[in-house]
Symmetry: D2
Subunit: 97 residues, 4 copies
């Protein structure tokens, strides 16, 4: 089996890259919208509602990347008998709690 | 007293706008960096660590805006005897919990 | 006006105390249930689902107390011209983000 | 290999049970303390600080259980070629985000 997750690399195909980057572009678009709201003296509460949507989008992106990580790197490592990846994942999860 | 928070508007001076927008620009910069990491097949865990930094930066920006909101709009409304803003703020806080 | 929030005291009536404590009792009951699940060798994922319910109940209790706090102490302090309570509240909110 | 995680059971030894339950007992103790604070008319902000400590203790307990889960059930299932447990874990993580 070809290694997709070695030497701190994760090989992604073009479709995966496109999907992730279009999600990130959408979040950047939301943030550009918030900059315009600031410039237009929009009401704080309305800005905070938009910002909470960005927060959810970031968490959802993190979920997708973690999910990909577990479906590829985690399985690969465990099947090779390398369980150290589990502590690495535990630490990542804690960062988003 | 001139009303800074009326009709769902929040009047900000140039300095406040500059501060908020430079924070948002920095977050956009972090996200552009994450796009490059995806393209360069960087390891999932490293991308997730960067994404957790974005998550913290978003929460910190939200804190600053909420703080400004309480120091301006909240005080103005309470001093006018309009307490409905408190429920609005409670709802905002819940969105970020 | 009688001061309900002075000297780091918050005077609560019997009904408020009963409401808050019955919510806390319910959370304690959920945790007792989780102890039984541990003893009965129940599946980790089922225990984690129960624990996420406790997490939501804690956040919801915090929202109620913060809401009461803003509807009583915050209004009292602002009407006396003491705005320092706003930074105190900002710090509390950050603890639950 | 004896199966420790089958039929939605997780077999725990006495030491693990004791550790988890003493953590839960400590959280219950914190909540009993908060009930006394409510009865004693303690200041809302002080109660909220205690409640944020409970929130952290709950998240830390969840981390430990999830960690155990990955070090036992996850490894067992992946080594049997059953990858469905990964989506189950993804869903659990999302509950605590």
């Amino acid at each position: 089996m070809e290694c997709k997750c070695c030497d701190r690399k994760t090989i992604r195909n073009e479709e995966e890259k496109k999907k992730l980057n279009s999600r990130i572009n959408r979040i950047i678009g939301q943030l550009e919208g918030i900059k315009r709201m600031v410039d237009d003296d929009r009401y704080c509460a309305d800005i905070l509602i938009q910002l909470s949507a960005v927060d959810k989008a970031i968490k959802s992106l993190a979920s997708i990347i973690l999910d990909n990580h577990m479906h590829s790197c985690l399985i690969e490592h465990i099947e090779k008998g390398d369980y150290s990846i589990i502590d690495e994942i535990s630490n990542l999860i804690r960062r988003f709690q």
